[in-house]
């Protein structure tokens, strides 16, 4: 499971780099909005929509509002992909 989470974070990395316009951005399981320059509310919307489009998923507001870091986002993605 930890390995799957890490692989998902690797898939998310180019999406984060595109949204935050930072080709050197590194994200990890414990990365939060406070760690990424420009991660404000509008950037958060662009990020979630970009992830939904790239991975072919749809999140609910409740699923997204409870996430505290990138690792939890990756685990949510794995859970939704498993149930798809």
């Amino acid at each position: 499971m930890v390995q799957d989470t890490q692989l998902t974070i690797e898939k998310l990395t180019p999406i984060f780099r595109d949204v935050f316009d930072d080709e050197d951005l590194v994200i990890e399981q414990n990365t939060t909005a406070q760690d990424v320059d420009g991660w404000d509310s509008l950037a958060h919307i662009r990020l979630v929509v970009s992830i939904e489009k790239a991975l072919g998923l749809r999140f609910s507001a409740a699923e997204i509002s409870g996430l505290v870091n990138v690792g939890e986002m990756a685990e949510l993605i794995l859970k939704k992909q498993a149930n798809a």
Partner: protein
Amino acid sequence: MPNSDLAWSSYVEGMELKWPFSFSTEELQTFSKLSGDFNPIHTDTYFAKAKGFEAPLIYGLLLSSRMSRLIGQELPDPHAILTGIQMDFISPGFAGDELEFTAQLTMKSDATHAFEFKCRITRANKILCRGNVSAVWRP
């Protein structure tokens, strides 16, 4: 269900909005002052004809302004904020042309209240420009 949820549910993927419009030469002259683009191709009939066009060309960004009307004026409520536009200009439009703007809701994200419309502007069913507009709904 709160009223705000009812309003968001009125945004339905596939919904289509359209309306006719046109721009006069005077409106192109007004836009030249607002934009700072005084190229006579947009404001001078003689200059435009000398370049082989039938009338002054409508500014591309003036055509794009219909997207502002879409997000600010034509949606079910006034709670949407424009977050991005992309538009390709296929062929020129001219002052006085009878044009039609059409927009179709292609994406609605319940997680973020973001949405996107695919848009096109046509003259007698011929596409002048097409593109996408994105916005976020914030009641």
